[in-house]
């Protein structure tokens, strides 16, 4: 009997900036000084934006929020590698990537405030996907479109370690490989899917090797090293633009809670958390930039002030927008053209919300009565526009 080894694989790990902030020049991407400082600013901005969003939720000013604290290098380093016209296909934890691509913070807040306005897309950004792991298929679709159209562009999609257990993620990688879709699969392995550690998701030693079965390239990068991430993301995007999709596993850590409804002390120890504190992506990058003479106390202070000012303005804007929510807009945009029955529901709704003329042309009338607009019931009780309640979440633990 002949027994040959017919497959063999290895997974590369990339790091440019180590935990002390020392650079391995061979792994370093080509970046100019201004861009380096800009990446630092973006990481600081994202961290602070998340902190402010958490505080707003705690004060009842906003709803559940999923912070990216600890994952700034993974998101900034990858998002900045894309061209502005390349599609980003995010999950729910991509505040840093959104900010890197120029999305204003008030939009992220609107989303957290439960407003569809926050999911309106600007530029080449898909709205956040709330179901875990469904969106990589959208990137595959966009990227296949690029292949069909012969465009040198790629789509980049973000998802977590937990998502790699979902069938859709494997399907996305597999179809992309089979159809030469211009897609980059960017997995932020932040070690946890809510309370479930990465070891419970899979027995595979790396997540990157999941690419092997799909026939595409898989690579691991230190996700807390913004320069390593930039370098790997650039290569991956270049490859994808040519029709060779890539799966990137960025090894990082969610420093904060899963969402503002979560309490990590239930499932992880302070030891685990402090271990990752020493690998913080911002501390490391700042040390490097100071060594290079690109940052000093003055410059850092100026950046801090600018960020505080910017975020204060954005928060004011978000709050102002929240006051202007029009409930009836839930009927708009369900279809490009609102069908008659839905239009009727909208009118009933507006009448009930509106001036207090309670008509009986409401639910359950015959078609003719409806067409006639219904007779006025005569009760005429005025119903105030209902305020959006600012009640605390009653779920306690609802995500």
């Amino acid at each position: 009997m002949v027994r040959d080894q017919v497959a063999d694989f290895s997974v590369e790990y990339v790091q440019a900036l180590d935990e002390e902030g020392d650079l391995d020049a061979a792994q370093a991407p080509d970046v100019d000084d201004d861009q380096l400082v800009e990446m630092y600013r973006l990481m600081r901005l994202s961290r602070r934006a998340d902190e402010r969003a958490i505080a707003l939720q705690r004060r009842g000013e906003s709803g559940t929020y999923a912070p990216a604290i600890g994952q700034e290098a993974a998101q900034v380093g990858s998002a900045i590698a894309m061209t502005p016209d390349e599609w980003m296909v995010p999950s729910f934890r991509e505040s840093a990537a959104f900010l890197t691509r120029g999305a204003p913070f008030h939009r992220l807040l609107w989303y957290a405030m439960g407003m569809e306005e926050g999911a309106e897309v600007a530029d080449a950004n898909f709205p956040p996907a709330i179901p875990v792991g469904t969106q990589p298929l959208h990137a595959a679709g966009i990227g296949w479109g690029h292949e069909i159209a012969g465009e040198r562009k790629a789509a980049l999609t973000y998802f977590g370690d937990g998502a790699t257990s979902e069938g859709d993620v494997y399907e996305a990688m597999n179809v992309s490989g089979a159809l030469d879709a211009h897609a980059v699969f960017f997995c932020q392995n932040n070690q946890w899917a809510i309370s479930t550690p990465r070891e419970t998701q899979t027995r595979a030693e790396t997540l990157a090797q999941k690419a092997v079965a799909a026939g595409i390239e898989g690579v691991q990068v230190d996700g807390n090293d913004v320069l390593g991430v930039l370098s790997v993301a650039r290569d991956a995007l270049e490859s994808a633009r040519e029709g060779d999709p890539v799966f990137v596993e960025a090894l990082t850590f969610r420093r904060s809670m899963h969402t503002t409804s979560d309490d990590p002390s239930v499932y992880r120890t302070e030891e685990q958390e402090s271990e990752w504190e020493t690998r913080d992506p911002i501390v490391r990058f700042e040390a490097y930039l100071r060594n290079e003479g690109l940052l000093d106390d003055d410059r850092v202070d100026r950046i801090t002030d600018e960020i505080e000012e910017l975020l204060a303005d954005e928060i004011d804007r978000a709050k102002a927008g929240r006051e202007q929510v029009v409930p009836a807009e839930m009927f708009d945009h369900v279809f490009a053209e609102t069908p008659p029955e839905l239009q009727r529901q909208r009118e009933t709704f507006e009448r009930e919300q509106g001036d207090g003329e309670v008509a009986s042309a409401e639910e359950g009338m015959s078609g003719e009565e409806r067409a006639a607009g219904g007779e006025v019931s005569g009760r005429g009780d005025v119903r105030e526009e209902r305020e959006t309640s600012e009640d605390e979440e009653v779920s306690g633990r609802g995500e």
Binding site: G63, A163, P327, T388, G398, E399
Partner: protein, 322 residues
């Protein structure tokens, strides 16, 4: 003996008692073990039953599909889907396998799985965390769908569901989990599946509701001028038509309330059944008070979407004025 429990605690008690009674009962799902579930329904159960409570990878198709395998071969799977909106990720397993295993094997294999999941709005949750897909499950032959409205029924119905030889979708209203403490019988307590309950007797109009909406309906009838009879459907499939019909024959009027979208919703089915078997007892068309045919809005607009006391009261008035 009775205990004052919240709905989430009643559910935990049913799980605990059923696992203790029957070691074939296996509770599993995303985050149900160490952390006790995002709503804490399974809190501390893993410590008590380490061989019967498991954290599962983030994979709903696996969670439901494995339930088919476990269930058909001697286990009693009680998986949790973290939010009802993520059951879609395993919907094919429910429709293509779990629901029809018994009929296609002419009764030789069955799937005694009880799928627990939080559903519905009212807690300012994230996008896609508040839907009521009940009619979708009810449309699948071979699945039973249960929606308890109070702690006592939650325990009794869940116990009955776990003991039921067929797959049961068990929908738990997120807004009721911690809403109120009520008296729940200790020890053995079952509420039969497929039986509605008249929770308030009345002569003028029948109001049919379930889950969270039952409570809105009860508040609405307190304020209404009419003497309303309120039916808690409890099991939406298979539906207890007899209780509804009997009530409607008495009152001659009916209002059906649900949070799910109107088109193709359960109210349409209930109206059809009344038309089939009690049409000549009706003195007014059956009224529907439902969600609108729009995606469940994010929470800044969810109050506008969900039927509330006011809308239900109007529905009752329309039924009475016709």
């Amino acid at each position: 003996m009775a205990n004052e429990l919240r709905l989430v605690e009643a559910i935990r008690q049913a799980l605990r008692e059923e696992m203790a009674r029957d070691e074939s009962v296996v509770v599993y799902g995303e985050d149900v073990g160490v952390s006790g579930g995002v709503f804490r329904a399974t809190q501390e159960l893993q410590d008590e039953f380490p061989e019967q409570v498991y954290d599962a990878p983030l994979a709903e198709a696996a969670i439901l599909g494995m339930g088919v395998g476990l269930g058909a071969t001697g286990f009693t799977p009680v998986p949790e889907i973290q939010f009802a909106s993520f059951a879609y990720q395993g919907f094919h397993q429910l429709v293509q396998h779990a629901s029809r295993m018994r009929s296609r094997t002419r009764g030789t294999l069955g799937v005694p799985m009880t799928v627990r999941m939080p559903y519905g709005g009212g807690i300012r949750a994230l996008e896609l965390h508040s839907e009521s897909f009940e009619a979708g499950f009810a449309h699948v032959p071979g699945l039973k769908t249960v929606v308890p409205s109070n702690p006592s029924d939650a325990k009794g119905l869940l116990t009955a569901a776990i003991r039921d030889p067929d797959p049961v979708m068990f929908l738990e209203s997120t807004s009721r989990y911690r809403a109120a403490r009520e008296s729940v019988p200790e020890g053995e307590h079952t509420v039969p599946l497929g039986e509605a309950e008249v929770v308030r007797e009345g002569a003028d109009v029948t109001v049919v509701a379930w889950g969270a909406m039952l409570h809105e309906a009860m508040s609405a009838v307190e304020d209404a001028e009419a003497d309303a009879e309120v039916v808690d459907l409890r099991t939406i499939s298979p539906m207890d038509s007899a209780t509804i019909l009997e009530s409607v024959r008495k009152t001659g009027r009916c209002v059906v309330v649900h949070e799910a979208p109107r088109t193709g919703g359960l109210a349409a089915e209930i109206t059809a059944r009344i038309n089939d078997d009690a049409l000549y007892h009706l003195e007014a068309p059956v009224e529907r008070v439902t969600g609108y045919d729009v995606p469940f809005p994010m929470f800044a607009r969810e109050e506008a979407y969900r039927p509330d006391e006011e809308r239900i009261r109007r529905g009752i008035e329309r039924a009475l004025s016709a």
